[in-house]
């Protein structure tokens, strides 16, 4: 029967051309949207590498020019913040803190190896504690790094793999921005600070050492005890405003920053899904209409098949089968096109993302085809054979 259906559809390829094209284009749009969704969902399900609950970010903008004075006030602020019973720890950080909109890229390179663009985050020693990072090899920054021959850095596993493959990275030297050599002292499991929906990129943590290099950072992460609420926030901002007079102080939770980033990732995905939904709905209507018309045109054939020994159920299955064969023709074209994405590594997305999206899209198209064919096929099966033959 399957051979018969393929033969029938193949011989009717001219009249089925539009339907096959419709299925082909519907598949491509679905594949594109699903690739985006699968990419985002897969990233979302991966570990961030840090805990942002109960972590706040204090951003301070000073109205004085002297860096020394700014640093002094910043240290007073940190001291005051740490003095609260509600606060568990603080850590200065560069402006590319978790879920922030800024990036700081540097080149990293092992001698003789390729140059890799990495995210450089300047952090205080307490950063790992405040964000509860998991150091899986080596160690995090400590006071002993003050006396180190090379500047100490911590990297994430992604960067370790890109630079050294399966080899250990701890103790090795890398060149940063083609100039300074830095030494890797530790590797964190994961760090995905850009967004929950983005892929983990190579990260290089460098140490803030204000005794050595006096820089005013202006961003401070604060870990508070669970349950610490808005009343404390207000009290703290008021107290801090008293210390840093005329400074602009902004206090927000990292959770709020995450939500903002989440919206930015979800909005295009939802918009594309809505457009795709409308398209699929239109395709479904078209498919349903064409099938309905085709079936009503083929009354004589239905009557004949019934006369030759097809039961109503076999007629029903035949029409569903025909639609599935039609869908297969469209999908063969679609898959041949879509499979180029993983093969050519388009957009540098993991192949598995495309393959999952491809599988789901194929499944959905078949479901859509069956859904659209269900009622017209049922109607075909219900046609009275004597009447159908008589009409012909």
């Amino acid at each position: 029967m399957i051979r018969h259906l393929f033969k029938l559809i193949w011989n009717r390829k001219k009249s089925n051309f539009l339907l096959i094209s419709e299925i082909f284009f519907c598949f491509l749009v679905l594949f594109a949207v699903l690739s985006l969704v699968v990419y985002n969902v897969r990233n979302y399900s991966k570990p961030l590498g840090f805990e942002y609950d109960n972590v706040w970010l204090l951003t301070s903008r000073a109205d004085i020019d002297s860096t020394e004075l700014r640093i002094a006030v910043e240290q007073q602020l940190a001291q005051k913040i740490r003095s609260y019973g509600e606060v568990e720890g603080t850590a200065l950080v560069s402006s590319n803190s978790p879920f922030a909109f800024s990036q700081m890229k540097v080149w990293a390179q092992v001698e003789g190896g390729p140059r890799i663009l990495v995210e450089n985050i300047d952090v205080e020693d307490t950063f790992a504690e405040v964000l509860q990072l998991n150091v899986s090899a080596g160690r995090w920054f400590t006071k002993q790094d003050d006396a180190a021959r090379y500047e100490s850095v911590v990297i994430n596993r992604v960067l370790q793999q890109e630079l050294f493959g399966a080899e250990s990275a701890v103790g090795k030297l890398i060149t940063r921005n083609d100039s300074s050599q830095v030494q890797i002292i530790g590797v964190v499991d994961h760090y995905r600070g850009s967004s929950e929906y983005s892929e983990e990129s190579p990260v290089l943590f460098t140490r803030i050492n204000q005794q050595k290099v006096a820089v005013f950072w202006g961003e401070m992460l604060i870990r508070v005890k669970p349950g610490t609420g808005i009343a404390f926030e207000e009290r703290m901002v008021k107290d801090l405003s008293g210390i840093a007079k005329n400074w602009t102080l902004e206090l927000t939770t990292v959770e709020k920053m995450r939500q903002t980033k989440e919206k930015l990732s979800l909005v295009p995905m939802i918009a594309m899904a809505v457009v795709c939904g409308f398209l699929i709905f239109n395709v479904a209507l078209g498919l349903f209409g064409v099938l309905w018309y085709n079936i009503s045109r083929r009354n004589g054939e239905i009557g004949l098949r019934r006369a030759l020994g097809a039961s109503a159920n076999q007629v029903y299955r035949q029409f569903i089968g025909e639609v599935l064969v039609l869908a297969t023709f469209g999908l063969v074209l679609g898959v041949a096109f879509a499979v180029q994405f993983p093969l050519l590594q388009v957009f540098e997305v993991e192949s598995i993302v495309y393959f999952i999206a491809l599988g789901i899209a194929v499944g959905l198209i078949y479901l859509l085809a069956i859904g659209c064919a269900f009622y017209p096929s049922r109607q075909a099966a219900a046609i009275h054979p004597a009447l159908a033959l008589h009409e012909e």
Binding site: H4, L8, A307, A386, L389
Partner: protein, 234 residues
């Protein structure tokens, strides 16, 4: 083979009730060639549909090989149609998108246990029987009316049915073509012992069969052996 007892068929719409068949009693024994005649609208095709299990009578009993089929389900009726009955229609009812060979193979699609090679062999044999083995790859639109009807007969033959129900098989053909088709049917009846019930408007064709049943206004008005056989007025 086929027995109809007190068959009545009424088509009912909201406003009109049309009696297509009234009190029809018939027995068609195995191996008989029967023709059914009557004016248009007298119920001949309805009778054939009921005999072919394509339609149900409003009242009465249809028996195939002595078994009443009224309690059979749709798939059981389809199975009987596939195994025992072959149909030949006035308008051939060929599928234009399938080749001659594929059209002939159609009934075996609904019969389990026949391999593709076996099906092909049976289709070629059936086409040979009707003298069309040179046209297997042609499509129905490339054939003449007579050739199309021969394809339809080959399709009816392929499943080696015990009964062939032919609804005006020569109705769309000229006299020469009609004669050819009639000869094929006569050969089938005489050589293979196939029971044939043929609806026709052509008195000459009807006279070539063993038995002629006449209908008028849904009622059987005569049932007679032709030529050498005794005439029996119903």
């Amino acid at each position: 083979m086929i027995t109809l007892k007190n068959i009545e068929k009424v088509y009912q719409t909201k406003t009109i009730e049309t009696v297509a068949l009234h009190n029809v009693n018939l027995h068609i024994p195995k191996g008989e060639f029967v023709s059914v005649m009557g004016p248009s609208g007298c119920g001949k095709s309805t009778l054939l549909n009921i005999m072919g299990l394509l339609d149900e009578p409003t009242n009465g009993i249809v028996e195939i090989d002595g078994k009443p089929i009224s309690r059979y389900r749709d798939n059981e009726l389809a199975h009987i149609r596939n195994q025992k009955i072959g149909f030949v229609f006035q308008s051939y009812h060929l599928i234009n998108d399938l080749s001659v060979l594929d059209n002939v193979e159609l009934p075996l699609l609904y019969r389990s246990g026949t391999s593709a090679a076996e099906t092909r062999h049976m289709a070629l044999t059936a086409l040979e029987k009707v003298g069309l083995s040179a046209r297997t790859k042609h499509y129905p639109t490339q054939l003449s009316g007579g050739q199309r009807q021969r394809v339809a007969i080959a399709r009816a033959l392929i499943g080696q049915p015990e009964i062939i129900l032919a609804d005006e098989p020569t109705g769309n053909l000229d006299s020469v073509m009609g004669e050819e088709i009639m000869n094929i049917l006569l050969n089938l009846n005489r050589q293979d012992g196939t029971t044939i019930v043929m609806v026709t408007h052509d008195e000459n064709m009807a006279q070539k069969t063993e038995r002629l049943i006449r209908f008028f206004d849904g009622q059987q008005v005569s049932d007679a052996k032709t030529n050498a056989y005794d005439f029996q007025q119903v």
